[in-house]
């Protein structure tokens, strides 16, 4: 028999709401399936690398010698094709340094200014925009992922420090937005990282969900990510133009169509 000293603790622990056993098994099955898919994909990749290596080695033997002073191949582009990729006849856009801006549909602004944010007029009458001096905090998507506790992750998002934060408010409605300028050729990977993290996330809590509601609907790339933690939801809207990224967070209701429209407006502001 437990010591009576623990009686109250046992009673308190009795108030725990347990998930049905079927729910636990469903979750285990989903996780096992994902693991098998990942393992198969890894095996396929390994085979592809080996086969590709053999093919490349063969090609090397037949290829002409390299041209002295010739440049190496450019880095592979992001796996995420932009929705409105420039046509092959268009010249690549130029980033701040004069180098091609990866996956961009236009020249990226060189710095983060208030003009790069959503403006009150984008939302209608009665809205006001204010700068948030210390924009870091629990609201950023990295913190929310941390709260969700995706199993087995060790995600380093690559979030840039070169960013600013503003609030848009109208009564009790509000959006918080950061706009950040990423180092060269890293903004696309930032969004791809979020996309992959949503896909692979297996929340520790049974009553928590993370979903990718929409993607590639604005700018060079865009994501609409939904979190539902213990029945309470929030949405993240992330849009990219070149190396400039905007993230908008809201806890209020924001239907998909309105979110996509907002994303297009945010992307338009990024273009300057």
């Amino acid at each position: 028999m437990p010591d009576p000293l623990f009686d109250s603790m046992i009673a308190d622990a009795g108030s725990v709401r347990w998930a049905p056993a079927d729910e636990l098994r469903d979750r285990a099955r989903r996780r096992t399936r994902r693991t098998r898919i990942a393992t198969a994909a890894a095996a396929f990749t390994a085979v592809a690398v080996v086969v590709g290596g053999v093919a490349v080695a063969g090609a090397d033997r037949a290829a002409p010698p390299p041209v002295p002073g010739g440049s190496s191949s450019p880095p592979a582009a992001s796996s995420t094709p932009p929705p409105d990729s420039p046509s092959p006849t268009e010249a690549p856009s130029q980033g701040p340094t004069g180098a091609p801006s990866q996956g961009s549909t236009g020249a990226a602004p060189a710095s983060v200014t208030a003009a790069r944010f959503l403006q009150p007029s984008d939302l209608g009458s009665g809205w006001a925009s204010t700068r948030v001096d210390n924009g870091d905090g629990d609201w950023i998507i990295e913190a929310t992922f941390s709260a969700v506790q995706c199993a087995g992750n060790g995600w380093a998002s690559g979030l840039t420090d070169n960013r600013q934060t503003r609030d848009l408010r109208k009564g009790s409605d509000s959006y918080r937005q950061w706009v950040g300028l990423f180092p060269r050729n890293t903004a696309a990977a930032y969004l791809d990282g979020i996309r992959a993290h949503v896909r692979d996330c297996d929340p520790a809590r049974l009553d928590t969900k993370v979903d990718l509601a929409a993607e590639r609907f604005a700018g060079d790339d865009a994501l609409l990510v939904d979190f539902n933690i213990e029945g309470l939801s929030s949405r993240y809207l992330i849009v990219r133009h070149g190396e400039m990224v905007a993230l908008i967070w809201t806890k209020g209701p924001l239907p998909d169509a309105a979110a996509k429209d907002l994303g297009r407006k945010a992307a338009a502001r990024l273009t300057g």
């Binding site: 028999m1 437990p2 010591d3 009576p4 000293l5 623990f6 009686d7 109250s8 603790m9 046992i10 009673a11 308190d12 622990a13 009795g14 108030s15 725990v16 709401r17 347990w18 998930a19 056993a21 636990l24 098994r25 979750r27 285990a28 996780r31 096992t32 629990d138 609201w139 913190a143 929310t144 941390s146 709260a147 969700v148 506790q149 199993a151 992750n153 520790a204 809590r205 049974l206 933690i229 213990e230 029945g231 309470l232 929030s234």
Partner: protein
């Protein structure tokens, strides 16, 4: 005919979860944390049920996994704080009994190994021999931890734990 795995898991889950979560509550002092980690450990148990279900003491396996989860880096208190700040509490939860609060506070002041020994022995009623086997610790060391932990709790709470350290 043998019972279906689902049936044996259901029975195991139903019969053991209360002890597991109470142990975790005693060790961590956080009921929500205890609930989360316990359920996660049962998910993992089902993934390996063909093996875990055949163990002499599958409850010990779940308890160990859950406790390791609770102290892993993804289970830090900060995460709960973040979640709380972001989303608040969905529905009111009855505050813990004041005796529980006092006991949790006192247990937190014990070294982890003493807290574990006291909890396993006085809450889960495990023998010294069982604790020694499950923790891979000599029985005399477990006895010493129990004596030290009991004395400290008696000082902190103003009352003794009942019984002797028996069935070693």
């Amino acid at each position: 005919m043998d019972a279906q795995p689902e049936d044996s898991f259901n029975e195991f889950y139903r019969s053991s979860r209360q002890r597991v979560v109470t142990f975790l509550l005693a060790m961590t002092g956080d009921r929500a944390e205890a609930q989360d980690t316990a359920q996660e450990a049962y998910v993992r148990a089902w993934q390996r049920w063909s093996a875990v279900g055949g163990y002499d003491d599958p409850e010990a396996w779940v308890r160990t996994v859950a406790y390791r989860l609770s102290i892993s880096r993804w289970r830090k208190a900060r995460n709960r704080l973040v979640a709380h700040r972001l989303y608040g509490v969905r529905e009111p939860v009855a505050p813990p009994d004041e005796n529980t609060v006092a006991l949790v506070a006192a247990l937190k002041l014990l070294p982890e190994v003493d807290r574990e020994a006291v909890t396993l022995h006085h809450l889960l009623d495990l023998s010294v021999a069982d604790i020694a086997r499950q923790t891979g610790t000599p029985a005399n060391t477990i006895k010493a931890r129990l004596v030290r932990g009991r004395n400290r709790l008696a000082t902190l709470l103003g009352r003794d734990l009942s019984g002797e350290i028996t069935h070693a």
